[in-house]
């Protein structure tokens, strides 16, 4: 299973400590209401758009997050568990897992395909399968936007904490001819003997992040390097980041 990468963007929480990233794709009134995660996903998408080297047809969009809207959800739960038990309708609206998907489709006027994946440690792997299925189904390109925000420290023991992070990949079908020959590629497989290079370790702040392999993949692509990564703690799946055919 091979796909070419037309654009890549990534964002780390330490770039904007304690604040939301700029997320220019979101209207300012929406940006003010939504979570760090939704802003981070919008920011990574903007960076992938800025990076993009080729023109594509309208894209399907796959959102992915292991935990989803953790911050708004926990705030809402506190409201729900209070003696009054009333929760803010506005905050409830923005707490669903597919909040970013909804907000960005509205902001971009995108009435095409979108989905939202929530598969724990397998989130990146599941999202790549979804992207591959969409490309084989006839889409010219698929945008994968993936990330998780840091859960509150009181909820997670120190050895499980991680930094907020988001990644966007703009995927297209590989082509043996034309401008797509000049794009780097990723390949999913289960053959460890085909390891195509070691990958630098992720920052310590991301070691426990459920989607750390997505961040490492983005780093390799941005640096035009090759390498093989295990996609999830579960299962045999590996991802090769490969150079362009040309």
């Amino acid at each position: 299973m091979e796909m070419a990468i037309a654009g890549v963007g990534k964002w780390l929480g330490s770039e904007n400590p304690g604040t939301k990233p700029p997320a220019q794709l979101l209207p300012s009134r929406v940006r003010a209401r939504v979570s760090i995660l939704t802003c981070a996903l919008a920011e990574a998408l903007q960076r992938a758009v800025d990076f993009q080297k080729i023109t594509t047809e309208p894209s399907a969009t796959v959102f992915a997050s292991a935990f989803g809207e953790t911050g708004p959800l926990l705030s809402l739960l506190e409201q729900a568990l209070s003696p009054e038990g009333e929760v803010s309708p506005l905050m409830f609206m923005y707490s669903v897992h597919n909040n970013a998907s909804g907000c960005l489709s509205i902001a971009r006027g995108d009435q095409g395909f979108t989905t939202s994946i929530a598969a724990g440690e397998e989130t990146f792997l599941s999202a790549l399968f979804e992207c591959y299925g969409l490309l084989k189904d006839g889409w010219d390109s698929v945008t994968l936007i993936l990330g998780d925000e840091a859960p509150p420290h009181f909820f997670v023991p120190a050895e499980q904490r991680f930094e907020s992070m988001a990644v966007a990949l703009h995927l297209v079908n590989c082509s043996p001819s034309g401008p797509r020959r000049a794009l780097p590629r990723i390949r999913l497989h289960t053959r460890p003997e085909e390891n195509c290079g070691k990958v630098p370790a992720p920052p310590n702040s991301l070691v426990n992040h459920p989607c750390v392999s997505a961040y490492q993949t983005a780093c390799l692509l941005e640096a035009s390097q090759s390498g093989t990564l295990r996609l999830a703690a579960w299962g045999p799946w590996l991802i090769d980041v490969l150079p362009p055919l040309d």
């Binding site: 309708p89 923005y94 998907s101 724990g120 859960p151």
Partner: protein, 319 residues
Amino acid sequence: MAALLFEEIRPQVKAALDRWGPSRIGVFLGSCNAGTAGTENALQCHLGGKPFPANFDFHNQHHFYGILHVVRSLSGCTGPGSVISTACSSSAKVFATAQRLLNANVIDAAIVGGIDTLCFLTLNGFNGLGLIAKQMCQPFGQDRDGLNLGEGGALMLLERSGEAATSLIAVGESSDAHHMTSPSPGGAGAIAAIKAALLRANLRADDIGFIQAHGTSTRSNDAAEGAAILDVFSTQTTVVATKSYTGHLLGACGGIEAAFTSLSLEEGWLPDSLLKGEVDPKAPVHLTRHFQDFSGTYAVSNSFGFGGSNISLVLGRSK
């Protein structure tokens, strides 16, 4: 709940494992809330000055992966897996994911469906939006006043080929790009999903024997879905709404309604939609008002969710 549901399809999954092998069978599930109730319990302890429950683990309980882990562990299926969370369309979207991976020859079979459980957040959140009915919900009824929340789920087995009585023919998906909680005016997003499904199925509207409606029983959702149904189909196309039996299962409703649709096609009957009063004259769909026989070949099952996520499935009797 995942374990309970899996027991109902264990014999069929065993046969599929023998036929295709474990690595060629995927597991694709939909859910809105997944582990939220566990997180609520833990947070309640924390707010009360107590330690978290001994078995609470944010990484393993809060997120959506638990149901996938349970079904995969019980089934022995080791192919690709995923949990989709697109609000109330979640467990219909998994049919589309599985069909694409079947067509791409990544898998030969898939366990699909959805599971959702009740929690304080959902109850209070829908109550805050003013969407909870004071009585049993009345999809498409003139006097409908909101939805009833439920909990439950459904699992089904899709195979590339086999002896199943019904088939997934095609799916159509769209986004409203309109509002997080309100459907697009006139049901434009729903119309786009239904038309896309019919186009991909290579069927005309009058080939469809009945429509399993999303039918939440809220004023705006039923008005938009009713407008969409009447735009695409005739006023005489039969519509079934089953949330009066199950309540709104949120992330699991698409799965259980696909199962109801499949059963109706297989067994040749349609349920009463349990409407007590009159159908809303502003969305006058031809709703089933009693148990009735059915002899058609194809049906459409609709699911629409927060964030403007729309999907229609076309199912048919196997030839």
